[in-house]
């Protein structure tokens, strides 16, 4: 940083940054507090309060979290797999081929950047219903598999592949798919990783569309499970809800804390145009 100005100003800035960080972390820290202490201490921060795992036990018993985890895992896997396949092919077409109608199709793809399937819940529900995919995990993921964002990113990555490598492969007699598999995809690995992390985070946390599509425990992902878990008619029990919440967010949170740099790099990379 240049020309610090006064030292005092700098100290204020550091303090502000730290205060903001504390505010930002506070809700999660509170959830941890409430989850590990009995209900009496939900609103009292007595440092010597007894620790307990009872809330986690209750939460685990009340809602089938194991099943929800499984459903969510299947959901993000299927969605990501679909996205990788479909977006790779489409990005390849955009990056390497000339064909009539290319600009029009590209414009169509642009539309989806602004208008995502999430806001078209009424009509999309009808479509999924007609396809017979209501209350299936595939039904949740299908609208997202052709991701404009993914196509953009991969197209960008493919465009940066040096022509010489492609030429070399072609000279050796490789067909187009082979070139894709052997040259483009390996070189775009960082982009795949970045996109993968973004996609997994997004779909792990997605709520509105899954809550509309799923009706039963066999398909319900974690977010939907949390919403009904946390809203019983007679009232909320914050300790148990905090415990349930921590259970639900822990995989992603732990993965994030361990692989912070990769996460951050992914999101950074996906923003660079």
């Amino acid at each position: 940083m240049i020309n610090r100005g006064s030292d005092w100003m700098q100290k204020v800035e550091v303090l502000a940054a730290w205060l903001l960080a504390f505010l930002w972390a506070a809700p999660l820290l509170y959830a941890v507090w409430a989850a590990f202490h009995p209900m009496d201490f939900v609103s009292r921060f007595v440092l010597t309060a007894p620790l307990t795992l009872d809330n986690f036990r209750s939460a685990w018993k009340v809602a089938p979290f194991a099943r929800y985890f499984f459903n969510t895992f299947v959901l993000v896997s299927i969605t990501l797999a679909g996205q990788f396949i479909l977006c790779t092919m489409a990005a390849y077409a955009f990056a390497r081929f000339e064909f009539p109608g290319k600009e029009i199709v590209f414009l169509l793809v642009l539309v989806q950047i602004m208008i995502m399937p999430d806001v078209l819940i009424v009509q999309n529900y009808k479509t999924v219903s007609q396809l017979g995919l209501v209350d299936t995990i595939l039904g949740i993921g299908l609208p997202y598999m052709a991701s404009a964002f993914g196509i953009f990113l991969l197209r960008q990555a493919f465009k940066q592949v040096p022509k010489e490598l492609v030429e070399a492969a072609r000279v050796e007699g490789a067909g187009w798919l082979s070139v894709l598999w052997k040259v483009y995809i390996p070189l775009a690995k960082p982009t795949y990783l970045a996109y993968g992390l973004v996609s997994v985070s997004y779909h792990w946390n997605n709520f509105l569309w899954p809550v509309i599509i799923t009706n039963s425990t066999e398909t319900r992902p974690l977010t939907v499970g949390l919403s009904i878990f946390g809203a019983p008619e007679s009232g909320v029990n914050f300790s148990v809800i905090s415990a349930g919440t921590l259970l639900a967010v822990s995989p992603l949170l732990i993965a994030f804390l361990l692989f912070q740099r990769q996460f951050v790099q992914s999101f950074m990379r996906s923003g660079i145009k």
Binding site: A17, I115, Q260
Partner: protein, 294 residues
Amino acid sequence: MKLKRPISVQVYAWLLLLPALVLMVAFTHYPIVGGFIASFFSTGREGRASKFIGLENYSSMIADPVFWQVLQNNLIYALGVIPISVILAIFMAVCVNGRLPGRSIVRTAYFTPTILPMIAVANIWLFFYTPQIGLLDQIRGLFNIPSHSWLGDTSTALGCMMVLAIWKDAGFFMIFFLAALQGIPPELEEAALIEGAGRWYYFRRVTLPLLMPTMLFVLVNATINSFKLVDHIFILTKGGPDNASSLLLYYIWEVAFGFWDTAYASTLTVVLLVILCLAAITQFRYMEKRVHYQ
């Protein structure tokens, strides 16, 4: 070397494109058109088939006070959340990019809300906002300010939603600004230092313009989010009190899946789409004038 036009290659390209295109059209473009058409019909019910009613849905919508309330809410919400979260994000990025003690912890703290599902954090914030026993009111109690029903007061309910949205998204946007900041060559900074430029001057004249491309990306994202992310309403207020904290997409959900009035919901969706389009066009136009590509 772009490929020339032998027919087989073009067909090949289309085949590559087709699966993604089919799905995209099915779940984006088709519903847009379908919804538009559906807004001119009435909702079918048992014993009453759906029939063409022209602009009747639109006139009901104009006469619906809840619609206007919800529209106003969403605009206030967007106009509040977007600038504040972007400014905070830039501040965070600048802090984390510089020589801040404990930098990586701070960065983690800023980014953590992003990877948590909104539905989960809404539960936690529900407690924060609870009067008397909730955290916010306890802090107020320390200063002897009386307790307030944050979510139960029409003048603060929407604000509560906005705070939550800013908290959730600022860290996300920070990452993109951070990327951009790290792409600024350090020579620029050194040159400015030599010329005796002040920090604020440097920021305004050098950093900010170089952040413009990222700014566009972030603004687009922020705009989409402020119309798309309504999860917290389900947990905190269900749109109340008296629709004070309801947003357009939440109202659409209520009408479509609570009242099963799909025609009216389609009409509302048309409005939402128009807003999103307008926002997109405005932002692209505005930013086009200001973006400096290298």
